[in-house]
Each structure stands twice: as structure tokens, then as C-alpha cells.
């Protein structure tokens, strides 16, 4: 079927098999390979992207379901000049990653969280990241990064 998805602001149009998963559409059709396939069973959250602004696990969404909708991947977070998003900067500053495989999903889940709750408590952050697994077990710095990002992300949205 023909699918048109707005990915990071650009319309991507392609003829794909009906069974194509969104994550494969992003990686193989749109050539945006930052979104990782981890567990492939809706558990680990490595494939998290935003669908119309809300976090989803793109291994469990059909490209057809995203047809006509907007998707944001981690490649789409930097602004026009290439400056990183406040959440990306916070992950860097707080060392919120070790091997980095879960990071695109962690960052996108965080962007979704901060859009819904601009000033989360530490407990709320931990609860909001329940769907994202870090096999390096680097959770403490990830949580620290999210808490550090919250004011800056809020400022960016209101500007």
C-alpha cells in the first residue's frame, strides 16, 4: 500500500507491504537508523518514537497506522542550526548513557514525558521510563539527565 508519513517534518511517501512495521519504515525506507530495534516485543522501548507527539514503540505500530500522521525520531530533535535538544544535552552532560543502544528510545520517552509533565518528580520520572530498559543498568544517570532537562525543555517549548 502507499503510505505517506511526515517524519521529522518531511513527507516520506512509499509503496510498502501492508505488514511493514513503523520501525522498519523509519530505518529502511526513510533511512533514519537512530531508532533501534531491541527486543521487538513491545518491552524494551529502544524503538520509541513520537507519533503525533506521543511516545510509542514503533516495533508495534504498522506503517499503515502512521499513514497521514507525524512521526518524530531522535534525528528530528536538533533545531535548524543543528543545536541539540535540551534533553539530548542533558543526557550528554549527566552521562545518561553507557553503551548508547537504549538512548534514542530513552530520549524520545523523555521528550514525551516532559511534554505531558514539564516538572516531574524523581518518582514520576522513574515511573514514566518503565517502558524503557537499559541493559547497562545505567538508570541513575538517566533519571538525573531527565530531571536536569526538565526546566530547559520547558523553556524551549514556551519560547
Amino acid at each position: 500500500m502507499k503510505v505517506i508519513v511526515t517524519v521529522n517534518g518531511s513527507q516520506i511517501e512509499a509503496e510498502v507491504p501492508d505488514r511493514t512495521l513503523l520501525v522498519h519504515f523509519l530505518r529502511d525506507v526513510a533511512n533514519l537508523t537512530a531508532t533501534n530495534v531491541g527486543c521487538d516485543t513491545t518491552s524494551c522501548g529502544a524503538c520509541t518514537v513520537l507519533l503525533d507527539g506521543k511516545s510509542v514503540k514503533s516495533c508495534t505500530v504498522l506503517a499503515a497506522q502512521a499513514d497521514g500522521h507525524e512521526v518524530t525520531t531522535v534525528e528530528g530533535l536538533a533545531d535548524g542550526s543543528g543545536a541539540m535538544h535540551p534533553v539530548q544535552r542533558a543526557f550528554q552532560a549527566e552521562h545518561g548513557l553507557q553503551c548508547g543502544f537504549c538512548t534514542p528510545g530513552m530520549v524520545m520517552a523523555t521528550v514525551s514525558l516532559l511534554a505531558e509533565n514539564p516538572a516531574p518528580t524523581e518518582e514520576e520520572v522513574r515511573s514514566a521510563l518503565e517502558g524503557n530498559l537499559c541493559r547497562c543498568t545505567g538508570y541513575h544517570n538517566i533519571v538525573r539527565a531527565v530531571l536536569a532537562a526538565a526546566p530547559a525543555a520547558s523553556e524551549r517549548r514556551s519560547s
Binding site: D18, T48, T60, Q65, E130
Partner: protein, 272 residues
């Protein structure tokens, strides 16, 4: 993993969905959020020939106060249930249980209707609608029918819905006794409950204590007879047939049921 090949169709209204299903044969399935169906399809545990995407039917996503009852559209997502101000004031049990399903990403996509028709006895919302004495409304080729939640769940992953019938609405009477609680025990936050319990007033329903969600009738009778939470909870595992699996054996689940029901009844009593 990708699903086996299928033909994707899209419905923009309930009428169109029912019509498409009637013309698509018995191997057609409705696709809502896809968070029960797509994982099964990737594992080849479900191999439908046709998927009818109902996810864009806006008319099925709502929570309304209808006076004596609350009406919930089948396509309302877990996240929308959790954030509903109507549910927060009238049916906090449903709002809270929905906020405990899976994780945020799953709650953004998963729907109450999808969870109910999937009929996984380990899922949270089937037991919740059972505790709330809900009525489920289904539309099929021969019209609309209402099914009591107690008659809806037949067996593991099996409901009374016929092929081509679409769950459209959940009707929940406003509970006379407002005490409620929801408890579940999991190994990881995102796991299905090893055992769970939903309490609304004197109604007690159990998650993962049999082939379907079940009412803990022994507990309910004890409560009706004036027993306190701890004494009533001792009956929690009666007439259940809990599964044994990698997470727990049946005896452990029976123990958990008694413990969780006791905690839930005590919690509900503080809100009554």
C-alpha cells in the same frame, strides 16, 4: 520479527467496519491500537488474512457521564482513561487501573476495547469491568446487542463475540458503594500481573486466577455477611483455578490472591 502477510483495510466508521468484516471472511480481525494483536501476529500465534484498522474511528473514543452510568467508547486509550476527569470523579477504579497498564508507550496506543476483546486473564481491565458490573455493547451484521461483563469472557483469549462483531461501548453503572482499590503483583513494572484484584464496594474480581477474569464470590459472600477485610480475604482463592507458569505455581497464586485481596479491601474501606 514481522507479521505474516495480510491485507490491510481501513474503516472510518462503525458501519464501514462491520460491513468490511462481513465481506472479509472469518479470518479477518479488527485492529485497534494493536498492542495485543500485533505482538501475537509477530509470533504467528495469530495469522489473520485481513486486518480491518478501526483505529481512526473517532466516534468510538470518549468517556461520557450519562446520568446513572458512565459510557466509555471502545477505542478510548488507556492514557485517555487515566486522564479522564469524568472517571477521576465517578469511576476512579477504572482510571487508576488504566494508569497501571503496561507502560506509557503502551498506554498511548492500547485501548480498553482491545484489551477486553483480547480476553487475556492476566490483563487488568477485564477484571476491572467485571468488578464494575459493566455492560458491553457490540455491533454486528445483525444489529447491536448488550452483553453483561460476567457473560462476556468465555475462556483463555475467548469471548462471546462472533466473527464480524465489533465491541463499541462499555457501559458502567455508577457504583452505589464508592470504596475501590486495585492491586497487582508483578516482577517488573511492565509485566502482566502474576495476580491482581479489583475492588468496587462489595464486588471483588481477580486477575490471572483462572482461564478468565473471575469474581471472588467467596469473598463477596463473606463481606455481605459482615466479615472484615482479613476474614473475607481468606476466601479469595476459593473456586479459582489459577495457572502455573514460569512466574508462579498455582499455590503461590492462591496465597497472593489472599494477600492482595486483604490489602485491597482494607484500602477500599478507607475510601468508602
Amino acid at each position: 520479527m514481522i507479521p505474516a502477510p495480510f491485507t490491510y483495510k481501513r474503516a472510518s466508521s462503525v458501519d464501514e467496519a462491520v460491513d468490511l468484516a462481513a465481506r472479509s471472511g472469518e479470518d479477518a480481525k479488527f485492529l485497534a491500537g494493536g498492542h495485543s494483536l500485533l505482538p501475537l501476529m509477530k509470533l504467528r500465534l495469530a495469522v489473520p488474512e485481513v486486518l480491518i484498522d478501526i483505529g481512526r474511528i473517532g466516534e468510538l473514543s470518549y468517556v461520557r457521564d450519562d446520568g446513572g452510568q458512565i459510557l466509555v467508547g471502545a477505542l478510548t486509550s488507556h492514557d485517555e482513561l487515566a486522564r479522564s476527569s469524568v472517571l477521576a470523579s465517578e469511576l476512579p477504579l477504572l482510571a487508576h487501573a488504566a494508569s497501571q497498564v503496561g507502560d506509557p508507550q503502551v498506554r498511548h496506543r492500547g485501548t480498553i476495547g482491545g484489551s477486553l476483546v483480547h480476553a487475556d486473564p492476566a490483563a487488568d481491565l477485564p477484571a476491572v469491568v467485571l468488578a464494575l458490573d459493566a455492560t458491553l455493547v457490540a455491533r454486528g451484521p445483525s444489529g447491536t446487542r448488550e452483553i453483561a461483563a460476567g457473560d462476556f469472557f468465555q475462556s483463555l483469549f475467548e469471548t462471546v463475540l462472533q466473527p464480524g462483531e465489533l465491541l463499541t461501548e462499555i457501559r458502567i453503572p455508577k457504583p452505589p458503594n464508592r470504596g475501590w482499590a486495585f492491586q497487582k503483583f508483578t516482577k517488573r513494572a511492565i509485566d502482566w500481573a502474576i495476580v491482581g484484584v479489583a475492588v468496587q464496594g462489595g464486588n471483588v474480581a481477580l486477575v490471572n486466577m483462572g482461564q478468565t477474569p473471575v469474581r471472588a464470590s467467596g469473598v463477596e459472600q463473606a463481606l455481605a455477611g459482615g466479615a472484615g477485610p482479613r476474614d473475607a480475604a481468606a476466601h479469595a482463592a476459593e473456586q479459582t483455578s489459577p495457572p502455573a507458569d514460569i512466574n508462579a505455581d498455582s499455590g503461590y497464586r492462591e496465597h497472593l490472591a489472599r494477600v492482595l485481596v486483604g490489602r485491597a479491601l482494607e484500602e477500599a474501606a478507607t475510601r468508602a
